[in-house]
């Protein structure tokens, strides 16, 4: 079985985000990039199936420019067997549906039967692409999964159902699984893995190679646009309570009850 892992690079979660231009977006020149944390759970899920010989190949799929190759190398160093970077002038400015069309076409072109993706990327926080890829392919989809069993024919997945409840869901292959924290403990790359990754080739493919209609992706096809970027609204200044512990606790309860009326 050939497994695809959707891999995105994002600014590290401890990055400060500054607005570059209110109409265009954030300044990302100085940030440290990392693999989207939820994609790390997706990659680990795939590598575990490779170790168990349920999977024969683990292919990384990334939409992006050459600047993403360091993160792709990281994924290869951890044990992925191949990588395709999806890059074409026609892809620029895609919204989530456009990115999903690119990825769905690549999944089909690569002959993949099971896709793991992070439940969302921590930059845009859209949480749209995994389900969209499944819908476009006509495949099953289970998202926000934190426990998983895969056999050759299907998967049993535990998905968040709200309020801490979980649904246990069975889905046949082909399918897309959206991965949440708790699913596994992602491995680090070994020194041997890092050396081997240097020799692995990252394929670069454009619209023609994966068979996606260039008119259905990119800025001209985007239905959702983002403008008027800004910092989060400023919080009103607060106050540090004074006195001994008992006095401060009483003052806090009084303030919560009478001043801001939240209890």
């Amino acid at each position: 079985m050939k497994i695809g892992v959707l891999l995105k690079q994002v600014p590290a979660s401890d990055s400060r985000i500054k607005i570059a231009d209110p109409q265009r977006g954030v300044a990302l020149d100085d940030v440290k990039w990392e693999i989207n944390p939820y994609d790390e759970f997706a990659l680990e899920a795939a590598l575990a199936l490779l170790d168990a010989k349920v999977a024969s190949d683990v292919v990384l799929l990334t939409v992006g420019g050459a600047d993403t190759e360091q993160r792709i190398r990281d994924g290869l160093a951890r044990g992925a067997t191949a990588a395709v970077r999806l890059d074409d002038a026609a892809f620029g400015g895609s919204d989530c549906l456009g990115v999903s069309r690119i990825l769905a076409a690549a999944v089909k072109a690569e002959g993949i039967t099971l896709v793991f993706a992070g439940k969302q990327a921590i930059d845009g926080d859209n949480a749209q692409v995994p389900a969209m890829v499944a819908e476009l392919l006509g495949w099953g989809y289970v998202g926000e999964v934190d426990q998983l069993e895969v056999t050759g024919a299907g998967a049993k997945a535990w998905r968040a159902a709200g309020g801490g409840a979980r649904d246990v869901v069975e889905v046949g292959l082909p399918a897309v699984i959206g991965c949440d924290k708790g699913l596994n403990q992602p491995r680090y790359a070994s020194l041997k893995g890092i050396m081997m990754a240097k020799r692995k080739k990252i394929d670069v493919k454009g619209a023609g190679a994966i068979g996606v209609d260039a008119g259905s992706v990119g800025a001209s096809a985007a239905l959702v646009s983002e403008t008027n970027w800004g910092e989060p609204p400023a919080r009103p200044p607060g106050r540090v309570l004074q006195g001994d512990d008992a006095a401060r606790v009483k003052a806090l309860v009084a303030a919560l009850r009478d001043e801001v009326k939240v209890i």
Partner: protein, 319 residues
């Protein structure tokens, strides 16, 4: 598509969820500007007519066995049917696991634009524009959707629940169903019956300074229980095993929006702040007066959580 607004009303154990009333209140205000009517699609068993009191003129009701557990085929066919029946140009739903799943599928199926987790909605030139946090709230942007049907998911507690009015809604049954590729073969109830973090009005969170899972049970959970709050945790506390991962608040956990957030022994790392900074009132209890959390707190107590939390629990229980 028309200028009507459709609200997806979810149910829980036979009752309409309060997020539905919150969305209807906002839809009513938007429709007053855009000149449309407000419709609702009620999914699952619940009192459909009651939605009229919050501004729905028509309720399309999908109920029955197909809606007892989330079934993506039935759910999306119900919403798709309601979009057609209501001639809606804008569809609103509360962000949650089922809606995230169903709306992304629908957007791909209909070729419709989707904006998730918006915290503001406004009418502008006859269209509805959203505003949403990105990078877990480190930045915000407007979102403009140019497809004939625009889908928005709204972060719970963004608008508040309006007062019920005297309106009534006409109710029509919606034929919806379908076999999903995904079969629910079981369900696991949560270990406690508290509200989900993402919908909670009150949250009490513990951080690294809690030092152990036993202390978390001793300090944080009773404090939360004293005010009916949902317990939360920082990434440091979750990674150290003090609390389960589904209680993590922050950029790689849940992003929350309560009226009251009490942070106990949490320093306020940027990735935690990102997950809770929109809380209306923030209380910080921390030994370190220099902890960044104090910069964001409405009320701060510089002190030891092992002293303060039990005193606060007792005070709240007697209040």
């Amino acid at each position: 598509m028309g200028n009507n607004i459709l609200v997806v009303a979810e149910t829980d154990d036979g009752a309409v969820k309060k997020t539905a009333f919150e969305l209807l209140g906002k839809a009513k205000a938007l429709a007053a500007s855009t000149g449309g009517a407000v419709h609702a699609v009620l999914i699952g068993d619940g009192d459909a007519a009651s939605l009229g009191a919050y501004g729905a003129s028509t309720v399309h009701h999908a109920s029955g066995a197909a809606f007892s557990h989330y079934n993506p085929a039935a759910w999306t066919s119900a919403v798709q049917g309601a979009i057609a029946a209501s001639d809606a140009g804008v569809v609103l739903a509360a962000a949650g696991p089922q809606v995230r799943d169903g709306f992304a599928r629908l957007a791909a199926r209909l070729g419709a634009g989707l904006a998730t987790e918006v915290t503001e909605l406004r009418a502008e030139g006859g269209a509805v524009v959203g505003r949403r946090p990105q990078f877990a709230g480190k930045a915000f942007s407007d979102v403009v959707i140019r497809s004939a049907v625009a889908l928005f998911t709204v972060r719970p507690n963004s608008f508040g629940v309006p007062e019920a009015g005297g309106g009534s809604a006409s109710v029509s049954a919606l034929a919806a169903g379908g076999d999903s590729k995904e079969k629910v073969v079981g369900s696991e109830e949560p270990s406690s019956d508290v509200v989900d973090l993402t919908e909670a009005e009150r949250i009490v969170s513990g951080g690294r300074a809690v030092k152990s899972a036993e202390n978390f049970d001793k300090l944080i959970r009773p404090l939360a229980a004293s005010i009916g709050a949902t317990p939360g945790a920082s990434r440091a506390a979750v990674d150290a095993g003090y609390a389960p991962h589904n209680e993590q608040v922050g950029q790689t956990g849940k992003v929350v929006n309560p009226s009251l957030y009490i942070a106990c022994g949490i320093s306020g790392a940027i990735q935690h702040l990102a997950g809770m900074r929109t809380s209306k009132v923030i209380v910080a209890i921390n030994k370190d007066p220099e902890a960044p959390i104090f910069q964001h707190a409405t009320y701060g107590i510089v002190g030891d959580i092992f002293d303060i939390c039990p005193m606060l629990t007792a005070e709240l229980e007697s209040a």
